[in-house]
Symmetry: C2
């Protein structure tokens, strides 16, 4: 019997999470697991899909604490996060499932507010909740409520977006400023208030990904949404799966001043902070400017932040002009952020 114990860092989306998945989960699920570390799995086969399309399938549990925070709540997060995991494979959402674990004593009014936020986010996506489940555990056996959302999506013919398709020469684009979601949750949890309230960026991304695909098509190589572990974890995921090195410029990465200020105050690196409405893309050489023109508007501030090179790992050209390794975070920086 393995007496080692689960630690909060195992759920942080960094090095510890990826070791747990590789060394414990894949190991013990054995041949019954057909997984990689992509946000969604692709299903298909001629008997199912006679057209050129394939099916994307994904799941995520949401355990954010507190349930409500500036700009979003558990319900909005549970819809956006899963829609976004589909979008990161270039998949249009076809339907979501919503499975609730409720703690005895939870006010129905709280559940109702969470469900209404889920509804709003689903309408934005747009997607429908087509199936669900509800379980109740005794008071003290959960923390208010947890939601697990799964999603099924359709990947159109010709779309081939994968963590493993970044190539040397590709340009790296981020769809907007980073760090807002984590700061909104952490500030609310710690009771901090700043002159400018930071709101979560939680938003469904399929519309923007669809627009990007229409513009650049197969030149969109890799997509990842920087949730747990932040931009650093996303860049590492692409670099590892594609067997390339990624170099980004600190000065080019958009960060709103109140987010930078709060991160510094909390002693956190903004590049490791979770987002719920942003993506990072690797685009074929010469297509990034066109991508920006699609992603701009409605207050978005997309940016070209770096390039894919031969090699391995992720490096950062600092604001001062130096170059350093950008580490994969360990995982205990910001627990229960989503």
């Amino acid at each position: 019997m393995n007496d080692e114990r689960i630690r909060l860092a195992h759920g942080g989306g960094g090095e510890m999470t990826s070791r747990l998945i590789r060394e414990v989960i894949f190991e013990h699920l054995g041949a019954s697991a057909a997984g990689d570390l992509e946000d969604s799995a692709l299903l298909g086969g001629p008997e199912l899909l006679e057209g050129p399309g394939r099916l994307a399938f994904t799941t995520d549990s949401y355990v954010v604490r507190p349930l409500f925070f500036p700009g979003a709540d558990l319900g909005r997060l549970a819809v956006c996060g899963t829609v976004n995991d589909l979008a990161m494979r270039g998949a249009r959402p076809l339907g979501l499932s919503l499975s609730l674990i409720l703690e005895e004593g939870l006010k129905l009014g709280v559940l109702e507010r969470v469900l209404e936020s889920a509804r709003e986010a689903a309408e934005e996506a747009p997607v429908q909740v087509v199936t669900g489940d509800t379980k109740v555990v005794e008071h003290g056996a959960a923390d208010g409520m947890y939601i697990t959302t799964s999603g099924v999506g359709a990947v159109g013919g010709g779309v081939d977006v994968s963590l493993s398709r970044a190539r040397p020469g590709d340009e790296i684009v981020v769809s907007g400023p980073v760090g807002n979601h984590a700061i909104a949750v952490l500030a609310c949890r710690e009771g901090l208030s700043f002159e400018t309230e930071v709101e979560s960026d939680a938003a469904p991304l399929w519309g923007r990904v669809e627009a990007l695909l229409s513009r650049v098509g197969g030149d969109l190589h890799a997509l990842n949404d920087p949730t747990r572990g932040g931009l650093a974890a996303s860049l590492h995921a692409i670099a590892a799966a594609s067997a390339v090195r990624i170099e980004v410029r600190e000065r080019s990465i958009p960060v709103e001043p109140p987010v930078a200020f709060a991160a510094e105050l909390l002693g956190l690196d903004v590049l490791t902070l979770a987002n719920e409405g942003r993506f990072v893309a690797a685009l074929a050489p010469g297509t990034a400017e066109g991508a920006l023109s699609v992603l701009e508007g409605r207050g978005a501030r997309p940016a070209i932040i770096g390039r894919v090179e031969e090699g391995a790992g992720v490096s950062l050209v600092t604001a001062g002009g130096g170059r350093r390794v950008l580490e994969l975070p360990y995982g205990e920086e910001a627990p229960r952020i989503c």
Copy 2:
């Protein structure tokens, strides 16, 4: 703000669960919910599925306590329950997702045992786990571990199995003795031991449903697996969705003697106890005997237990020859049974 509070009975799979789903969940998800009360939703559309097939999609959270009990554990349950929800729509499982909520301090050895059971059940089904997620919450914010499993399945051309397809004259078949799963869990939880240990019936049902479909095809009208709320809840689900009355004979319902004994000792009605490897079927007149011949073997004791009639509700012809209404259980009889 609705100040009413969640109670354990809201998760029991009976009257309270169905009210929560109708009055709170569907109400507040509004138009974004395309749900009915089937075990799986059907997805499809010409652009996705050019063949005659459709896609089934389902989700369930598993919060059984304790994690291990005679005959099964959380991992086996999480795979079987979701495979079975697909099978209840006549769907062959294509892939599962597994989302873990782990409590800080959980031994990795416990997680490993649960995952190994999940693997065994997946191999039996057969199905692969194609995607997943892992979250960690603080010690005290969960109860060891919870698993949410979703599944995607393919419904072949010509298969049309639904809660709403039972018709007057149909015969009602149960695939084996009822009540074993709930008694195995409750006896283990309460520290009761009986002369004959009762084991959970948790098993993946797709193989048996597939065999049944090969034999009777479109004469298989409705299927339901009697999990929370037991046989009584399954019969009510079919009767309500099909707008028919179902009459079953108490003497015909297979119950193993140690299960009947334990249920009586615990003051529980065996017809409301959860199963995880049984199904109830409504079959066109004249096809039930053929169905039994397919379902027999390997120790199974399927039985014809009743008939579909015009009307509404569920009635029971008692062992003594009387007739009474079989009520939908309220929901607090056996909490956290799956």
